[in-house]
Amino acid sequence: MSHNNMNLKLKVWRQKNANTTGAFVKYDVNDISDEMSFLEMLDVLNEKLIVTGEEPIAFDHDCREGICGMCSLYIDGKPHGPWQANTTCQLHMRAFKDGDTITIEPWRSNAFPIVKDLTVDRGAFDRIIQAGGYVSVNTGNAVDGNSLPINKDDADASFAAAMCIGCGACVAACKNSSAMLFLSAKVSHLALLPQGEPERKSRVLNMVAQMDKEGFGSCTNTGACEAACPKEISIANIARLNKEYLRAGLTAE
């Protein structure tokens, strides 16, 4: 519970909208408590900008407890900043020290066009889900929840994949802007459960096709996505995705 205050220099990407070119702008922020979250530090800067008549920095954020997946930010070359298994909103200033210069960029990917400053459009993820990331069961069709026992290991593995918060850090971390970790988490979540079985083949084929259509790059297995994932989604899911894809391709009617 120590209080250490620090002075920092920021290099922030500013861009008015998708149709203009952007540039880095330098800011000084002083007297930042190490108990603040990273976004609260940006709040402090924004308040200062507003009062002095400048436009505040636009960045996406909502729950500020690491679960909604809305926050992004590429901080000093890492999606969500220096801490492992963490979102930007949960990053706290004790990760930095007095005098540091911090570079802040938006997610960089052609499939995530910039809206303004640090805010990007991740609608591509929704469209990948629309291509098949669901079980086709209308409300009212369900049988009793316990009529379908599921092996605990499978249920746990499915849950581990379903923990994905759809933030896009995996895409931002990848030199090819591949969305394979995201997609593999979504495919694994349902492929590991008996409920996902009937649509298992069409799901993976359609979702992969949509991913390609959105302009995401190819996977070259560098593992940068796994290292950046705030929910520690395992790269083993990508292996499962490849297996699912191959199996579906070879056995499709």
């Binding site: 979250s37 909502d62 909604c68 929704d126 669901y134 069709n141 849950f159």
Partner: protein
Amino acid sequence: MLNSKIPAGKLEEKWVDYKGHCKLVNPANKRKMEVIVVGTGLAGASAAASLGELGYKVKAFCFQDSPRRAHSIAAQGGINAAKNYQNDGDSVFRLFYDTIKGGDYRAREANVHRLAEVSGNIIDQCVAQGVPFAREYGGLLSNRSFGGTQVQRTFYAAGQTGQQLLIGAYQALERQVALGNVTMHSRHEMLDVVKIDGKAKGIIARNLITGELEKHFGYAVLLCTGGYGNVFYLSTNAMGSNVTAAWKAHKQGAYFANPCFTQIHPTCIPVSGDHQSKLTLMSESLRNDGRIWVPKNLDEKRKANEIPEEDRDYFLERRYPAFGNLVPRDVASRAAKERCDAGHGVGTSKQAVYLDYAAAIERYGKIEVSKQGLSNVSTEEITAMGKEVVKEKYGNLFNMYAKITGENPYEVPMRIYPAVHYTMGGLWVDYELQTNVPGLYALGEANFSDHGANRLGASALMQGLADGYFVIPYTLGNNLADEIYNTPIPTSHPAFEAAEKAVAERIQTLKNINGKQSVESFHKRLGKIIWNECGMSRSEAGLKKAIADVQALKKEFWSDVRIPGEINEYNPELDKANRVADFIELGELMCVDALNRNESCGGHFREEYQTPDGEALRDDENFMYVAAWETTGEHQWQLHKEELKYEVIKPSQRNYK
């Protein structure tokens, strides 16, 4: 007089009878009918998906960049259902009873019974969608306990039940988008309800990327826009959570019910400084195994681990031996505040109590030893094994605590303090979830109906999904069956034009103020007023002062707020200004309602009305009603009362001792 349209007949037959007799819309007609759903959390996403499946043409709106980000996602602990899988005496009646009692006898019996009836269907539906609930080794669903109950009826997915349920509903929604039954408008905010001939017929929405205003027609408008906890500035709500949609509905004539019923959650991470933008909840499930205490001695200087048992006060176990650490939220919060006010608080701010896992770690360690048939095990080994078990159950919560505070909760007790979490009040709705404005509905936290004066843990997810999956598909049809003869109204209708003009003018007015103070600074000041005078404890004098302060703040806001940027562009400060302006007006109404309610019940604690041992003192004779407020002018509201009739349950003073 308010007509709640509760069906006649025995309590347990009302919903069955209703479903058997309600009017239906045939599939060919559904295809012609547009329905607007605002908000895509559990209530909105489940409603939009279910109505899309039925064949309605749904237009869904959310202010986030994707429907999956709605704040339902942050719910941690679980969802209740009267499955009685544990054979521990649960039933529909008991869930109904616990909810009514937990709500301190200020909820509607018929609504709550229906909620309990459909609770089991929700679990079935979610399992069918592939929601990965926690399971036992036998492959069956696992349960845990939550506050205010003596059975294990809470289903969960580690500490992120909300995200898993929302992803289930979101995937169902996206499936309907792909099928063309739902059109999704993300990064859109509803800024007014359009009424024609007294009925809700559409909305004005603002595209948050371009700033353009849009007119949308619908045969009905469903508000699934969550609660208004952010009126307090600091709360566990997401930064974007707001009351604007509900407040616009209120300004268009919809009654706002029980606004002063807000929930202060006992287990949150304490405030650490002035810069703080939001508070973080630690799931109530932690009270299953954690023990809450403060030092007995005032001016205790020792570290938590150095304070011996005899110098600790486990105040919940002491005051409420029957329920112990699992008393309902309002009771636990007040008890923590009472200890801190008496000078026993811990941490630098002295506004915190300990939540201690040492005993649970030891207990679980010993269970592991006997499970594995080990002997001659050292204390350190038992502790290590216990920590592993605790890690599996609560690991993500412990990690979150460590990240925020920089302390290791496996080694030292966590520090917690109550924080605003949920709002039981909301738009007044009848049994069909329709407000008093025909065609305008409110679902989930946005309505007032099921939780009375205090919500039990793991019941918010249940209510959101009950309303969206299993209630609105029936009740909406019952009303739309009469609308099939009416053709869609073009948005060139004068009512749409006028509404759009009014919204544009308000935005221009806000922008033109061009004052000196930021939106955020006003929001912080509003939050302080409401937290101090309309928070965990309220008094006549304090509320009167708060009303005057909020009125003054409103004046200052409208003359000195500064909004940078342009109207016709992505401008989060402008979005926020719109929301804070509405929060200020709501803040006043909350205080008006709290001042009117001369009793204590649930989360509403008036200092003047308490029992000798400090428990809430209800006044059933004079206040057993829903306070539904109609706006009648600037700073003016008229009270409408809906009498609460308890036909099955006999109200008594809640006793958790």
